[in-house]
Symmetry: none
Subunit: 97 residues, 2 copies
C-alpha cells in the first residue's frame, strides 16, 4: 500500500519514495495540513500559516490551492481521500484516507 510521507526540511512530499512535484504554495499548504492531522482548520488559519498574513475577507486562494493539491494527490494516490471539506468551516487533513 502506497503511503504519503512529508518531509518539510527536504521540501518534499513522497509517495513510494518519489517526490511529488508540488509548487511552493502547494507544499506549504500540505505541510500545514500534515502538522495538524484530523483537525478541522478554517480558511483563516490555513491562509495565515501558509501566506503569513491575514486574508482578505473574500479571498478564495485557499480553496484554489486545496483544489490544486487534491488534483496532484489524487493522481499519485487515487484510492485515498486525504483532504475533507467541512462545509461552512474549512478543511481537514486525514492521513489515513
Amino acid at each position: 500500500m502506497a503511503a504519503l510521507e512529508i518531509r518539510p526540511e527536504e521540501h518534499a512530499a513522497l509517495v513510494d519514495g518519489r517526490p511529488l512535484s508540488l509548487t511552493m504554495r502547494e507544499l506549504q499548504l500540505l505541510v500545514t495540513f500534515a502538522s495538524r492531522p484530523q483537525r478541522i482548520m478554517t480558511r483563516d488559519e490555513l491562509y495565515t500559516e501558509v501566506w503569513g498574513s491575514r486574508p482578505r475577507s473574500d479571498d478564495r486562494s485557499v480553496d484554489v490551492y486545496v483544489s490544486r493539491l487534491r488534483a496532484k494527490l489524487g493522481e499519485a494516490l487515487p484510492e485515498m481521500r486525504l483532504i475533507h471539506t467541512h462545509n461552512g468551516i474549512g478543511y481537514r487533513f486525514s492521513p489515513d484516507g
Copy 2:
C-alpha cells in the same frame, strides 16, 4: 533498455559501456546528483558540493551546468528525463526516468 552507469573513481559516466564525454564540472555535478537519487537538492547544496564553496546569492552556474548536462544526457539517452526541476527549490535526479 539503455542504462546509465556512473563510476566516480574512474571519472566516468557510461551509457551502454560507452563513456559520455563530460567536462569536469559536468561530471562532478552528475556524480553529486547520483549520490542522492530522488532527493530534491537546492542550488546551494549542489554548488557547495561541486564547487566547494558557497555560491553568490545570484549565481546561476548550477542552472547553466544542469542545462549542459541535460543536453549531453538527452543525446545519449533520449527517452529519459533524468533531471527534474523543482521550481523555487532546486533539482532532483531520478535514475529511472
